[in-house]
């Protein structure tokens, strides 16, 4: 029925490469985002391998410090703007219209434009690596005044941020318009799947913060080329201003990367527990609460910048407060599993692994909210461990789980279950080997963003590097499994998972090119 419908309408995909360039179909664009993100995962991963190779031993073996800094900067920017965000947007494109019963995204041409702007921005960013003097050496935070010292590639880096920012804003507008306007009749807001809720909230965050980042990097551009004094104390400005602007963007940004991951986990766990999600309403309010508080905590990234005590106290309390709604989410997931009938297919393994590793990141996060303790943790490997537990142990694990969960729906084929499980165990073990020792390094006094270190840090760095290589290699299994599933594999049923509920499981597998052109019945 599905294939018939597609051909009869004459609204099938355009032939050849033009299908992908000109497509306005949310599933095609979702695929583009996910493919792009997958490629970037290996680009950013290769940079991480350079970093960990250099750090396996003290002394300089492989790259010089300047190139190391460029790798470190681009690794951060590529992983954030090229991997995690596009992957989550890819999920949104595939799933939001199907989950709310919409025929497509609300603004399909804009959807296509958002994707290509992202590709343009990322291309410009990566091209800076080939320019005289190389890319930025600043880390993804681009703190003034050092970022102003970037040689030739400075303006290109700034414009690449602008491009990626516009892409995110337009993508978010589209998601909000879809959710507000195209829900099927009967799909009340408080009936929406939690994944849609998580993206709804995230899109709001993005629309607020991305323009602020654009403003911040524009100030850098002006200070560098037009003689302004935003960040120059002699003219009455301050380098700390950049940190405020950046982290006003940067802190909600980390929630942009984790909230949709929460959404994915909230879909997977009920399915394999064969139970409805525990405390749906509380989960929605927790999402809203987290995003609301996330606008009032940015300066916890700046506790060592000499802020007055009152400011430090305020941002400490606000940051600690975020732990409450986050805790609610973790408790609710466990309560969803409680007295269920659990099976551990690969998506559920990743979801369970997510709870384990993300919670470690949450614990260190609470510790870092304590200002005096942060005087020690700040900018050390302790924080490197913390945010990798959150982003790799959190978002990336959720993404893997989500891919295994929905891939049968998208491709119509089952992935290789045993290979998926192997991928999970290799990933979670190597992830902990990779990042757990970094806690010790940071506490012992190893700074982040260094190509070289004093001798007493050697052992843990070596262990960490070994973990990194295994972690990197494990992802090749994932690559193989996904590519194979796209082409062949056991035919998937429509429902795919016996415990799965939601509109996307009512359409055939693979999902037809157009779904819900007629509004579905929502009970």
């Amino acid at each position: 029925m599905s294939t018939e419908a597609t051909t009869v309408h004459g609204h099938g995909p355009a032939p050849g490469i033009m299908r992908w360039i000109t497509t306005t179909n949310h599933k095609d664009i979702g695929t583009l985002y996910l493919t792009f993100s997958f490629i970037m995962l290996f680009v950013g991963g290769a940079m991480a391998m350079v970093i960990r190779s250099e750090l396996a031993q003290p002394g300089l073996q492989i790259v010089n410090p300047d190139f190391f800094n460029q790798m470190m900067t681009l690794h951060g920017l590529v992983m954030i703007f090229g991997v995690l965000m596009p992957a989550l947007v890819g999920f949104a494109n595939w799933l939001v219209p199907m989950q709310v019963g919409a025929p497509d995204m609300a603004l399909p041409r804009l959807n296509n434009w958002s994707f290509w702007l992202l590709v343009a921005g990322m291309s410009m960013l990566l091209s800076t690596l080939l320019m005289p003097g190389g890319a930025m050496e600043m880390g993804w935070t681009m703190y003034a005044p050092q970022s102003l010292q970037t040689p030739f590639s400075f303006a290109f880096s700034i414009f690449s941020i602008h491009l990626m920012g516009i892409s995110s804003i337009l993508g978010s507008i589209n998601i909000i318009a879809t959710i507000l306007n195209l829900r099927a009749p009967g799909m009340k807001l408080l009936k929406m799947p939690l994944f849609c809720w998580s993206w709804f909230v995230t899109a709001f965050l993005l629309i607020v913060i991305m323009p602020v980042l654009a403003g911040g990097v524009t100030m850098l551009l002006f200070d560098r080329f037009f003689g302004t004094s935003f960040f120059d104390a002699a003219g009455g400005g301050s380098p700390v201003l950049f940190q405020h602007v950046f982290w006003f963007f940067g802190h909600p940004e980390v929630y942009v990367m984790i909230l949709p991951a929460f959404g994915i986990i909230s879909e997977i766990i009920p399915t394999f527990s064969r139970k409805p999600i525990f405390g749906y309403t509380a989960m929605v309010y927790a999402l809203a609460c987290i995003s609301f508080i996330s606008f009032a905590v940015w300066a916890h990234h700046m506790f060592t910048s000499g802020m007055p005590t009152a400011a430090n106290l305020f941002f400490m309390y606000a940051s600690m407060l975020i732990a409450v709604p986050t805790g609610i989410k973790i408790f609710n997931w466990i309560a969803t599993m409680w007295r269920g009938s659990l099976t551990f297919e690969t998506p559920m393994l990743f979801a369970t692994g997510f709870i384990v590793t993300f919670t470690i990141g949450g614990f260190t996060g609470v510790m870092m909210a304590l200002v005096p303790a942060d005087f020690q943790y700040h900018n050390s490997y302790f924080i490197v461990a913390h945010f990798h537990y959150v982003l790799a142990g959190g978002t990336l694990m959720a993404l893997f789980g989500g891919i295994y969960y929905w891939l049968p729906k998208w491709t119509g084929h089952m992935y290789l279950e045993r290979l998926g499980k192997t991928h999970f165990w290799l990933t979670i073990i190597s992830l902990n080997v990779l990042f757990f020792p970094q806690h010790f390094l940071g506490l012992a006094g190893m700074p982040r963003r260094v190509p070289d270190y004093a001798l007493q840090f050697t052992d843990f760095n070596l262990i960490s590097s070994i973990g990194a290589f295994v972690f990197g290699a494990s992802q090749l299994l994932f690559l193989y499994n996904v590519v194979r599933t796209v082409h062949r594999g056991k035919q998937a049923t429509d429902r795919v998972w016996e415990g799965a509920h939601g509109l996307e499981w009512t359409v055939p597998s693979p999902a037809p090119y157009h779904t819900f052109q007629e509004a579905p019945d929502v009970k």
């Binding site: 300089l60 400490m316 409680w338 007295r339 270190y453």
Partner: protein, 306 residues
């Protein structure tokens, strides 16, 4: 297969039969040598054990359900999905834990910011990629200062073409030509700034770090409890040499410190202190050249005490 398995015991043996190697590894934050570092260490450990306690609850619950609520044990899933009581409990309980953490954290924070009544002020300026230390008098005028950069021994081994082994220098990247010298049991106010980009002055044994920001002075106070050599790093990415601007502070007995400072002000030293000279001072061995201070030098020395 058997060969693979044979590797395992060897690995385990290598890991556990080498207690000496494990003893060298530092897993935790050092407790440090200043009142502030002690308080911060205690706060850190308090937070750590709180998190361990929470972890036992969270992971315990997770393990329980993973083990006992599998389909092999429970064919039919319960369908409950709400329980106002437990939701209130797990909203309130974490909140109380946070309050318990926030109270000591606030107290320690206020203590770290108590910059009054210092005995000595030192201006610390970061540059790409070295530090400058200037001793100030009561009117905050610099009376003596010098630059401190990575030791020659480290510099010589810091090469990629050809790569060189750092292992022949036990203090690779952890040593400077001229360490900063401070007296023990004196409240020393560090006034930190930068001459170019943002750096960060971090000595773990002193309890933390403060950013060095161009155009601004940030502050940190120390009161070192015992003579010793305390090492740190620049902790804010500041360009290609970011890894190569360590901090070394040598805490010396008060008497030795003031005689060294007075002699240095009067130009009777051979220049800024070397590591060897600093170590001698630390042991209370004041070189002859620094002795026999004239009365004017004594006055100079007393000027920096406030």
């Amino acid at each position: 297969m058997t060969r693979k398995l044979a590797v395992l015991p060897i690995l385990c043996a290598a890991l556990f039969a080498a207690p000496a190697a494990w003893a060298d590894l530092q897993f935790n934050m050092p407790r440090g040598v200043t009142p502030i570092s002690h308080q911060i260490y205690d706060l850190h450990m308090f937070a750590f054990w709180m998190m361990v306690g929470l972890g036992v609850v969270v992971y315990g619950g997770l393990m329980w359900t993973v083990i006992f609520h599998r389909r092999s044990r429970r064919k039919k899933a319960s369908q409950f999905h709400e329980n106002a009581k437990v939701e209130i409990v797990w909203t309130t309980l974490p909140f109380l834990i946070l309050v318990a953490l926030a109270i000591p954290a606030s107290i320690v924070l206020v203590n770290t910011q108590n910059f009054h009544n210092s005995d000595l002020k030192v201006q610390v300026t970061g540059y790409q990629w070295l530090w400058q230390y200037e001793y100030l008098d009561k009117k905050a005028e610099p009376v003596y200062g010098f630059y401190s950069r990575l030791s020659l021994a480290s510099l010589k081994r810091m090469s990629i073409d050809p790569p060189k082994s750092p292992w022949t220098d036990p203090h690779y990247l952890w040593d400077v030509n001229h360490p900063m010298i401070v007296p023990v049991h004196k409240k020393v106010l560090l006034l930190i700034t930068s001459g170019d980009v943002i750096h960060s002055f971090w000595v773990t044994e002193f309890g933390g770090q403060v950013d060095a920001i161009p155009g601004r002075i940030t502050q940190w106070w120390i009161n070192v409890q015992k003579p010793g050599i305390y090492r740190g790093v620049c902790n804010q990415i500041c360009g290609g040499g970011h890894a190569y601007m360590p901090v070394v502070v040598v805490a010396v007995p008060q008497d030795a410190f003031y005689r060294w400072l007075a002699a240095s002000r009067a130009g009777r030293t051979s220049g800024p202190p070397t590591m060897a000279q600093a170590k001698a001072l630390m042991h209370g061995n004041v070189p002859l050249a620094l002795n026999g201070a004239s009365s004017s030098e004594k006055r100079l020395a007393s000027e920096v005490k406030s």
